[in-house]
């Protein structure tokens, strides 16, 4: 079982967590074109390499971000969303 280190709860088995997928920047719905909005809805970050993604620690309902390499499955960093630049 992979370990994911929760910024609040420390290292835990990854089955305590729920993935909410890569972080997505929503365009402004007022001004975005249909094509841009469709792209926002359907395209997810999937390029081999490091992605920044949302995770929830289910028992504590804590949401945080992780930088994870989706080829090696190595987690480079996990951090509270308040720390996101």
């Amino acid at each position: 079982m992979k370990i994911l280190t929760c910024p609040m709860n420390g290292p835990r088995n990854i089955d305590e967590f729920q993935s909410f997928g890569p972080m997505r920047e929503a365009p402004d719905p007022e001004v975005a074109s249909d094509a841009d909005w469709a792209r926002y809805l359907f395209q997810a970050e999937n390029q081999p390499g490091v992605v920044v993604e949302w995770w929830r620690h289910v028992p504590s309902n804590y949401f945080f971000l992780a930088e994870r390499d989706i080829v090696t499955n190595r987690v480079l960093r996990t951090f509270d969303p308040g720390e996101a630049e």
Binding site: M8, D15, E16, P59, S60, N61, Y62
Partner: protein, 191 residues
Amino acid sequence: MIQQVHPRNPGGAAEGLALPKGPLDLADLTAAPRFGLKGPGSTDWLIGHGAALPEVNRLADWQGMRLLRLGREDLLLLAEGAGEALDRTLESWRAHPGPRGWSAWREEGWAWFRLSGPAQDEAMARLCAVDLRPTIFPGDRIAQTRICGVEAVVLRGGRGFDILFDITLTAHLIGRVAAATHDLCQREVEP
């Protein structure tokens, strides 16, 4: 007449379910007093009320109660044998006009069980994937984790492991604990 029915009480949802006893003892503390405070204002109110707040996932003694910090603004008072202290605290909390957080309804939403006895450590190693050995998980720690696949708050009290979990899963968890540990009453502790 004010009357409460908890799951294992007569008429309750888990009526008649026996709890493991012997070298492994599962006790039901669901009726014991507790109170959860949650949301912005919770910590400020407690600090204003004289509590020294522990770090997140630690606990501290306060006025004869155990004060658990489950999140930045998520706190739980366990008042086993300290019902009066809790009542006093609640009285002043209710009377406080300013921001004070909100009730998390932990006394209703969570069941509270205690697992103890000589086989408690081996039992917990079956029920939970987190390393709960005393050297790693001393008495002031809290683990928000899973017990038999059920989300739970676990702490190592002086009298065994306290486990708080979704009250609607009471019957389920009793069944799972019993199934996972039924042999521990007859066998010595291993490995």
